[in-house]
């Protein structure tokens, strides 16, 4: 490995990954180098499009130094998404161009896992830091509340 690169190893969606990146690279860069690029937007932690679950907590991959993610468990929407949320988002038309959707799904799935019956303000708070230029957010909020209602119903029927 060249001297000007650092090695990053971790787990991505349940599989080991490996990347060699400059010392200033972000996790977003490392995943791209590992052949698993995420939607990249602002690269400043403000748009949310590259949000992943990092050791169980949502984080914009662009603000996480690659070296800080060494050994961490990284999950993208492929693995972190709650199926019921994805179904409700599709039903409500909560995704249009789809660029923001993977990051949104990671953040909202985390919300539903940690707060199974959120109200609309809690959903809007979780959406803070996720820019969606298509939907106006209403359909996303509606879908998340519908998913929460289904989850609550499933829990109470057990």
């Amino acid at each position: 490995m060249p001297d000007d690169l650092v090695e990053v190893r971790g787990t991505l969606d349940g599989e080991p990954y490996h990347a060699e990146v400059p010392v200033w690279a972000s996790l977003l860069d490392a995943l791209e180098a590992a052949g698993r690029p995420l939607p990249a937007g602002c690269r400043g932690g403000q748009c949310g499009s590259c949000t992943v679950s990092l050791d169980g907590v949502p984080a914009p991959a662009c603000v996480v130094p690659a070296g800080a993610a060494a050994g961490a468990v990284v999950e993208t929407a492929r693995r972190a998404a709650l199926p019921v949320l994805v179904e409700e988002m599709a039903a409500a038309g909560a995704t249009q161009c789809g660029y923001c959707s993977p990051g949104l799904v990671v953040a909202l799935s985390h919300l539903l896992r940690t707060s199974p019956a959120p109200d609309a303000p809690a959903v809007r708070e979780a959406l803070t830091g996720h820019l969606c230029r298509c939907t106006g957010y209403e359909a996303i909020v509606t879908a998340t509340l519908a998913a929460a209602a289904r989850l609550t119903s499933e829990i109470s029927s057990i």
Binding site: V6, V23, W24, G45, V57, P58, V64, A70, A107, T128
Partner: protein, 259 residues
Amino acid sequence: MAYLRPATIASALAARAELPRALVCGGGTAVQPAMNAGLLRPADVLDLGGLRDGAAIDAYGDRVRLGPVVRVAAAARAHALGAGVLGGLLRGFATPAVRERATLTGNLFQAPADLAVVLTALDGSLITASAHSRGERRLPVTMASALRPDELAVGLDLAVPAAFAYERLAVREVAAPTLAAVAAALLPGGPRAAVTGYRAGTAVPCPGAVPHLADPAGADGFAAAVVAAAAPPTPYARRSVAALARRCHRRIHRGDADA
């Protein structure tokens, strides 16, 4: 070229002594975007985010000491800080995901340091240490640039408020620079207030406002003293800072800020 992620404060200080020019990173939420943009191209990075002994929140008496990598979200949840008092304030800082990673101490090294006005009102100080010297040094929270090359910030020391208020002016609620902000606190040692923006820079205390903050009928005097400290350059800016100050005063005495 090295990326160092020490596990203890002692090993971080040793690494700092060895690599005094390394870029120090806490949560990375400010440093990484600067690296993404090419504004920073460090040869070495000293990442404090993995310090096992760096995220403690320890109450002692009527004060609290926070480790150097206490995350903003963790501070907002901490009962030792008065979760109900500070939670609302910290909700307005950055976005939920960024708050989970950003550190209070790290914010003080940014320009502007959005939390400096809050920590100044809480009688905060930055605690520094180095591998070469015994003991610790304390600096005002606005003096993060005064660290010596071999030093690291190893903690924050704050008073726990009985009541706290923070009002901020920005172009939008989150993820936007603060134009002006006022913080006020009722502390065991007496009231304190601080303002940021305009000529106040990062944050300045407002000692002239203290007697008015203690007085439930002192909203106008409090606002005038805060405006004097910030010295806003235009009538609109003066009215804005005065409004922020009045809202803080109202929150302190009535628990709300509605006019």
